[in-house]
């Protein structure tokens, strides 16, 4: 269940992880992208903190919306539009339900609409999709998250900047998959996965 409190705990923890892992995420983005994923998300995380500090959200919808707008307007890269859309769709759906599985499913649908990718294309979708499935079954675990992230390593990218290097994308973790892994680890830790 995603209450306002859980959302805030979740996202503060995610923002902390992002600022800690900023350099690592940008490093992951270097061989198969433009080396900015960590910097992009760190800008987003700062903007989220600033927005949530400025005005305490009245409810879950307002919280998810504030997170979305901070990501959309400050990240700059593909991940800003993607994470932004995901949180925007979650915000919309949160008017009708607080069920985590339903909200994440709405987020995933938004990601797919925005980026046009499906599973197996070496993107964050490859983490979101199994996480949504596991959450629906009520049994998201750290292992499911970690395995999904690791599974992007042997994949050949066919979407995003990594798709430009073709076969050379094989053998590298996808940076967006790794940051999505952090997102869901924070969710688990915040107790929002059930």
């Amino acid at each position: 269940m995603l209450t306002t409190d859980i959302i805030l705990t979740w996202i503060h923890d995610f923002d902390k992880k992002i600022s800690e892992k900023k350099d690592y995420l940008s490093e992951l983005d270097t061989p198969i992208g433009d080396g900015d994923h960590g910097n992009n998300l760190a800008r987003g995380a700062e903007a989220i903190e600033a927005a949530l500090n400025k005005e305490t959200p009245a409810d879950a919808t307002a919280a998810l919306r504030a997170i979305a707008m901070a990501l959309v307007s400050k990240v700059g890269g593909a991940s800003g539009a993607l994470y932004g859309t995901a949180f925007l769709e979650m915000a919309k759906t949160s008017r009708d339900t607080t069920k985590t599985a339903d909200l994440l499913a709405a987020g995933l649908a938004g990601l797919q609409k925005r980026g046009g990718a499906t599973t197996g294309e070496k993107t964050m979708i490859d983490v979101w999709a199994p996480v949504v499935t596991a959450t629906k079954g009520g049994q998201l675990t750290q292992k499911i998250i970690d395995d999904a992230v690791a599974a992007t390593k042997p994949m050949r990218a066919t979407k995003g900047r990594a798709s430009y290097v073709g076969d050379s994308s094989i053998g590298h973790l996808d940076p967006g998959a790794v940051s999505s892994g952090y997102l869901f680890t924070s969710l688990l830790e915040a107790g929002g996965a059930k």
Partner: protein, 122 residues
């Protein structure tokens, strides 16, 4: 009904340079641009794209972009805009040039789109 051009690029210089190129052959066409992030780094900014939409004085806009993540931000901005905006998955410079030249010459949208079709590469 007037047509305008919106150019979205990851780099401020590219967007500004395309405007220079297009203005030369389409002095009467409204051409607005969004280049780089809010800090003028490499990337795209939904704020800049929204500004390019509102500042464009034409009724209907033809939008062009360089790389996929620009497209995502363009589509987000389109979701948030009331204007009629057509997005083309065509070669950025070449198709923005084609569109501007044809708009300047008074060509209608259907014919412009026919000319843009062979420039689709993404």
């Amino acid at each position: 009904m007037s047509l305008g051009v919106v150019v979205v690029s990851h780099v401020p210089d590219i967007a500004a340079g395309i405007k220079t190129l297009l203005t030369q052959i389409a002095a009467d066409v409204s051409i607005t641009i969004a280049g780089g992030t809010d800090d003028d780094e490499v990337g795209t900014s939904i704020n800049k794209i929204q500004r390019a939409f509102t500042e464009n004085t034409a009724d209907e806009l033809l939008a062009f972009y360089d790389l996929g993540s620009a497209k995502m931000n363009l589509e987000m901005a389109m979701d948030l805009s009331d204007k009629t905006i057509h997005l083309y998955n065509t070669a950025l410079i070449e198709s923005a040039y084609t569109a501007a030249a044809l708009i300047q010459a008074g060509t209608d949208l259907a014919e412009i789109e026919a000319q843009l079709a062979p420039l689709k590469i993404k």
